[in-house]
Amino acid sequence: MPSIGVRGLKGARGLKTTNKDLSPVQQLLEKKYNGGFLNRSEKVIPAVLFIMAAVSVLTTLGIVLTLIFETITFFRDVSIVEFFTSTEWYPFSNTDPVYGIWPLVLGTLKITLIASVFAIPIGLAVALYLSEYAGTRTRKIMKPILEVLAGVPTIVYGFFALTFVTPVLREIFPSLELFNAISPGIVVGIMIIPTIVSLSEDALSSVPEPVRHGALAMGSTKWETASKVIFPAALSGILASIVLGVSRAIGETMIVSIAAGSTPSAALDLTSSLQTMTSYIVQVTTGDAGFGTTIYYSIYAVGFTLFVFTLAMNMLAQFISKRFREEY
């Protein structure tokens, strides 16, 4: 029996007529080594796939570098001290524009605070109900409802805030202005409820059944089991879900652009028009601030601040869920 070494096969390359003398295994091997395409594609494909994977790394790099470079350009025109210490944001003033980020940060914080106050209790209540009390039927109904709520585009929520929630609130509190912090705050809260519910419920459900049964067997009521055993055990996941929800509230753009107005304000008042970091970026880009103006570069400085806020929140969420995870 002739050996089927690679060299031997390569030697047979030119002699196509001898192919039928080779055994099937030899023919296959010849294809593998001499066919070329298969062999080459085995080497090329991982490289191509690696380049594709690199795109998402390049995207992050692109975001960070874009924000840094354009922000540096912005700080050529505007003092960095003014940006962080001034409490006024009047970029559109012709005579004396002032760029102090605080009113925009405060606007974002107001919206985020109202959203959190609204969404955290409701979100946790729904998550606890679904994981500890509800039967399979209720869960089967609620899961798709939450999925739909999570999938509703934010522009739709913005429309809902402006045309329904604001008028209803103004019926109850006549002193509320058309653009205010409360209505968009509540609607941002509605938007983040599904995030908080689904992640918290995952955390609660992943506490093993024997733990639950143990507590119930000791004579605890369902509430005592939930509050003293299950909730503490799932705390890391629950906290992470809240932090992620808050991070989404900070980055939310359309609801606040539509329903919160466009008045940067350093007042603590919640009933009047305000501007967040995100809605400032929208205001400038819908207007006609030309490329290269200080106002154009200011959106990158604001975007950078926003990016730092959300990145910090996301990393905090990752840290919480890694550091405090209960292993069973």
């Binding site: 690696f50 409701i122 429309f159 753009t253």
Partner: protein, 294 residues
Amino acid sequence: MENTTRVKSEEMIGRIDGRLMKNKVIKGIFLTATAFTSIILIVLLYRIISQGAPYLSWDFFQNFASRRPEQAGIKAAVIGTLWMMSVVIPTAAILGVGTAIYLEEYAKKNALTRWIQMNISNLAGVPSVVFGLLGLTIFVRVFGFGNSVLAAGFTMALLVLPVVIVASQEAIRAVPNELKEASFGLGATKWQTIYRVVLPYAIPGIATGSILAFSRAIGETAPLIVVGIPTFVAFLPSGYLDSFTALPMQIYNWTSRPQVDFHNLAAAGIIILLGVLILMNSVAVWIRNRYQAR
């Protein structure tokens, strides 16, 4: 002696009643919160349908944007969204599935891979408006695409890419090892195994996750605004470097006008947008149920 025992047990029974009561009250509160969440959705849908449904007519689909609400239509926005998605879907699908295959099948478990993975999960948390800033700088200015279909499509593709990657990774990870080993055992190469065994098995999962990601791209507004997509457009794009408008942009434009008529038009636009999203979600759920049986 007997008395004190009886008092104690009565006390205990009293306490148990109290504890059970507390449990009941709290259950009631939680149930109310759950019901409230569903009521929000019902009110939201009811408001939009009752406002927008009377404006849905054949003319509404046939007309371009107009300053007169009774003549305004959504044609440019619907066609524009289709153009944009014809960029988003192939770009995000190819890059997303490619990245997922690389990470699951080829990448070594080292620091670089962990870093790429961390990078993807952080990217998923970046606000969409910041992706808009990226698109404005890179695609609109540096590549010189202007506020075109291509610039908006690439920006959206990058926005949904992390979701497509994570969904594809999960689907690929769920492929049973025995199948792969059987394929290797029959002499298939790595790529043959991936292409003929892993991918066909994972495709339903990849499709389900990707469709959900693409439906997000259809509804996103902020990146389009930042990239500079116009809202008042009375023409259709004829190429990928043409300007265009999209459904959420048109809805935003109508919402930000003070007249109620335009708000109703916005509601009609939202009905179409939600209709498309529900259709896509149903397809995703159908694929998931159809192939879950295996």
